[in-house]
């Protein structure tokens, strides 16, 4: 508008501006088309190659891949068989099964959890840690055994990589901090985070692919809560299973105690060595829980049952996603009836506790433990076996079982895991004297009716050996010597046996007869695990002392000490019980056993468990009856060492006390007896470690067990002691405690 001169020509001369046309560029299109054609050909060839590959995979190889896919998604799940019950002689359930549910997690649903929690305890350079690592790998191999080769390889590679992560102590602490769901879950299941982290850590060490059990034995309400909200807690598993439940008894002091904890043994996964043992573990399959000791092990083949199986579709995490395709029901295990009588067992345990308690409060504060066994002398059927101190088998099988086991196993003062009936090794003391009598008479070194002076002391080969009772000095026959437990009488027998023994050790009547009546060897008890003990002889001395000319031979001292059950002689309470069964039954060495019969689920007897018959030991019948007379005198003659303990007992009892010495320890109290004396039905042996005089500490406990077994209603030793203290007791006296006397009157001087 401002300058029309400039504007005017532009408007007039120019053609109207063309509409914005499509710009089309001149370029060599056929050449470009040729290049594009080449590209298109390349693309076509590539895609045809891929289609051919598809053809080969999907049409030619379909069978193999489909089979792999199907096996991938099918899983056979074991349905554990219910383990049979262990019953007592009357059919009461001693060990049963109860449902037990655990909350577990699938570690694969928590990425890197195992890596975070799986750190080594020790550094990678530590030798132990490399062992652990090897163990872990072998565990992992085992755990992965059920997987397809490709999966197994993948998992093993993964675990090997995890194992290379080394770190310092408890490095896994706080390893769950990135998993809020896990924290929530732990609080629902009622476990602490430390426990959870430890459980995850242990699992990463042991079996890294299995579900990790966070809480065992969870309450049903927790179970329902989690099942209802399955979607909210992915990776959480409820493991429904069973756990062993153990019979308990209420003790006199009101505490609930598990019955015969030492007898049962633990259940753990079968080892490869055990799988090869097709006698004990007949029919066991990898992964089965089998009994590791005791009754659970001895009768595992009956108790175990046969696992069933379910086949169903699962996803890659093992979660079931479809209906059950095939199923085979589990066959529950059979029940096993034992010869053990729950009532006698209860009384044996309380008698043992009472006796230890009594010894502790009566001048023997170091009485640490003891054992009682009650056995039928005719068959070897064990009616009760008690060992003290004990433990709680339920806790051992529980969530903190490993820690509990460690605690028990490291308790060297009391060794609560030790079954003292089977493996407690003690000097026999005077309970051994009948063996000396048998050896001396059978070897013709003495006669059953020989009279020997029971002097306060004798001197043999320059050594003076004193009698336990220093005040006695009179001639005695064998019956009187047993009744009064005269040491000098048996020193003399030992001396005679020594003198008739050839120096070359070719014939040694004393150890020979000890072996013939069952010492120095295991008893063959059906549950196994018993100790052999030792019977010293020339070979033993040579083995022990080698070239030491002074000590490596059999001396008169050895013979004299063995004659009263001392020296290096070591016996178990079970062996003593067997000896007294032999004396009671007239010379048959029975095989002790606890198994009676296999009872089917329907209650019928499927199989009787026959103990091997006893062996007849050739002992002169007259000699045996003389020994038995002596044993009867121990209890029934007022001069007998156990007379006061059994005063007023209505059934005739025969027995022998023992007050055995062990270097560095106080005397061990023994009492071995059978009843009724004329027709023996029960042998009861009691030993109290460092319990003092056998007639005072051990004999009342035996009385208590016998009273229960024969249905005699009387006060227990604890009740008697309490009544005595209160001054209201009017029953038979328990006798004076000769503890101080024992201290002065050493049975011998070296």
């Amino acid at each position: 508008m401002s300058d029309p001169q400039l504007e005017q020509p532009t408007i007039d001369l120019s053609p109207p501006p063309p509409p914005p046309a499509v710009v089309v560029e001149e370029f060599d299109r056929p050449t470009v088309a040729r290049r594009v054609f080449i590209l298109a050909c390349i693309a076509t060839v590539l895609i045809v190659i891929l289609i051919l590959r598809l053809w080969s995979l999907q049409v030619l190889d379909v069978r193999s891949y489909r089979a792999q896919a199907v096996s991938n998604g099918l899983r056979s799940i074991d349905v554990p068989a219910a383990r049979g019950q262990i019953l007592d002689a009357q059919g009461k359930v001693l060990v049963g099964s109860r449902p037990s549910n655990a909350v577990a997690i699938d570690p694969t649903r928590f990425p890197n959890l195992l890596v975070a929690c799986g750190r080594d305890v020790a550094g990678p350079s530590d030798a132990r840690s490399s062992n652990e690592r090897a163990l872990r790998i072998s565990d992992a191999v085992q755990a992965a055994a059920g997987l397809s080769p490709a999966r197994r390889k993948a998992r093993l590679a993964e675990i090997k990589r995890q194992l290379e992560v080394g770190s310092s102590t408890r490095a896994w602490k706080g390893c769950t901090k990135d998993y809020p769901q896990l924290r929530e879950l732990a609080s629902i299941a009622g476990v602490t985070m430390t426990e959870t982290e430890d459980a995850i850590h242990r699992a990463s060490v042991r079996a890294p692919f299995d579900s990790i059990v966070l809480a065992k034995d969870v309450d049903r309400s927790v179970l329902f809560f989690l099942k209802e909200r399955a979607g909210q807690y992915p990776g959480v598993r409820i493991v429904e299973g069973t756990a062993r439940s153990y019979r308990t008894a209420k003790a006199a002091d009101g505490t609930i105690r598990p019955l015969a904890p030492h007898l049962w043994g633990e259940l753990t996964e079968v080892s490869s060595a055990q799988l090869a043992d097709q006698v004990t573990y007949r029919g066991a399959k990898a992964g089965d829980l089998v009994g590791q000791r005791g009754v659970e092990r001895a009768f595992d083949r009956y108790l175990r049952g046969t696992n069933g199986s379910l086949e169903r579709r699962v996803n890659a995490f093992g979660d079931p996603v479809g209906p059950i395709i095939r199923s085979q029901a589990a066959k529950p295990g059979e029940n096993v009836r034992l010869t053990i009588d729950a009532g006698i067992q209860v009384s044996a345990e309380s008698a043992l506790r009472d006796a230890i308690q009594y010894a502790r409060s009566h001048g023997h504060p170091t009485a640490d433990g003891g054992a009682i066994i009650a056995m039928d002398p005719r068959t070897g059927a064990i009616r009760a076996m008690a060992s003290n101190p004990g433990f709680d088998p339920a806790e051992l099988a529980g969530a903190d079982g490993v820690a509990y086991w460690d605690k028990l196993a490291t308790n060297t003062k009391y060794s609560p895991l030790l079954d003292r009936v089977l493996t407690g090794l003690y000097p026999a003391g005077s309970t051994f004297k009948p063996v000396t009598a048998i050896a001396a008479v059978e070897a013709r070194d003495s006669k059953a009716d020989s009279i020997i002076q029971c002097a306060p002391s004798v001197t043999i080969d320059g050594q003076t050996y004193r009698n336990f009772e220093s005040g006695v000095d009179e001639p005695m026959d064998l019956v009187q010597a047993i009744t009064a437990s005269c040491d000098t009488y048996f020193y003399e027998l030992g001396k005679r046996l020594y003198e008739s023994t050839p120096q070359n050790g070719s014939f040694e009547p004393q150890p020979l007869w000890a072996r013939r009546v069952g010492f120095g060897a295991t008893t063959g008890i059906d549950i196994g695990g018993d100790a052999a003990g030792s019977v010293p002889d020339t070979a033993y001395k040579q083995r022990r002392f080698g070239d030491d000319r002074i000590h490596n031979r059999w001396t008169s001292g050895d013979a004299v000490l063995q004659a009263i059950g001392q020296g290096d002689l070591e016996v178990t309470p079970l062996q003593i019980a067997r000896l007294y069964a032999l004396l009671a039954n007239g010379g048959t060495l029975v095989t002790p056993h606890v198994g009676a019969a296999v009872i089917g689920q329907d209650g019928t007897v499927r199989e009787t468990i026959d103990a091997s018959p006893g062996t007849k030991v050739p002992i002169d019948a007259n000699l045996l009856s003389i020994i038995r007379k002596g044993l009867e005198g121990v209890v029934q003659d007022p001069n007998g060492t156990a007379y006061s303990a059994f005063n007023g007992f209505p059934i005739p009892v025969a027995g022998k006390t023992g007050t055995a010495e062990k270097l560095g320890k106080r005397d061990f109290a023994w009492f071995a007896a059978y009843a009724p004396a004329n027709n023996p039905e029960l042998v009861v042996v009691c030993v109290i470690e460092q319990g003092g005089f056998g007639g005072v500490t051990a004999a009342p406990a035996v009385r208590q067990v016998m009273a229960k077994a024969f249905g005699i209603n009387e006060a227990t030793i604890a009740q008697v002691a309490q009544a005595e203290r209160a001054g209201v007791y009017s029953g038979p006296s328990l006798g004076t405690d000769p503890a101080e006397q024992v201290q002065q009157d050493q049975a011998m001087t070296p």
Partner: protein, 397 residues
Amino acid sequence: MIFGLAIRRFDWIMVAAVLLLLAIGERAVRTSTVADVAGDPGFFVRRHLIYLAMGVTLGAVAAFVDPRIYRRLFWIIYCASLALLVIVLGFSAARGSQRWIPLPFFTLQPSELSKATMIVCLSIIVADAVRRGTRGWRLLLRASILMGPPFGLVFIQPDLGTSLVYIFFTLTILVVAGLQGRYVAILGTAAGLLVILVLGVLPSIGLPLLRPYQTERITAFLDPEGGSPAAYQAQQAKIAIGSGGMGGRGAGISQTAGSFLPEHHTDFVFAVVGENRGFIGSAIVMLLYLLVLWRIGRIISRARVLEESFMAAGVFGLVMTQVTINVGMTLGIAPTTGIPLPFMTYGGSNTLTNLAAIGLALAIGARSVVDETPDATWQERPRRTFADPLEAPVDPI
């Protein structure tokens, strides 16, 4: 003029093929992720549908935008892409290997978006160079100068797969631009040497550029029985595909839905199709990709100007490379690399990128030289001459 296009000028055959692939992909994602999130079977497919809606919208916008506008926006596009790649590298440095920028709704993967933007930028640069008569190594140099920074940034993430895709679409563009065979060979050799350098030389001198899982994937490819997780994955993919047979096992509890095959909705989505729909289904998918490629090829030679021809060539290279590498990996004939299958793989960034690329190709096709004979195929087009807008000699080739 931008929105004045006749709808009928769009390549509806390609649109139909792509939509069909999107539908098949959605179905595969849906069936394979039913059990992935406990209690929410639709978790993944809901997100996938949102990504698809966003992608289709972006593709439609790209189809209507006149590609000429990109020349004006060249520097903005180029610099923005580089900036995003630098940002993601910062995230990577801060939080370990990371290819994503976390956004409120989804995580943005700049290396994916850059595939599309770099095709545009490279095409413009190469077209200008061709018009000026630049050929041979000079052309290669120009292209390398432009592609160097984004390639390097992706490579050091490290995202080997995506950087390979960059190389291949660059090659496709240069081939269409007339780069002589020997230079193509040089570039191919350089790529090979690079791979050797990364896999062999650098780790041996203590500079492992690849992360352990990447090395493992290559090892797993070379030794499929080697037992690594990557080999397990590849093996499971083969089992899934192979078990499909001729007609497929149908959607249900399967390799893929049962989670035996990890990454079943992302990198291994083709295995889901193979298992559920069998050979017939997977061959149809492959033929659909071939159809898409042919239609893009048609657009390349008909584009009105060189840069648009090159852009279409870039899209061709992008789709071809991703399809062959991804399917090859699923079928066990290529190593496992994190390359998505266009239009099918679950995920926001790659869906947006690939659909935007298709939109770009549609836009170019809709503005291409009018073909009066509808039946004529692109090979048979008669030679026509047009005025050269830049008065530069055409590369005689």
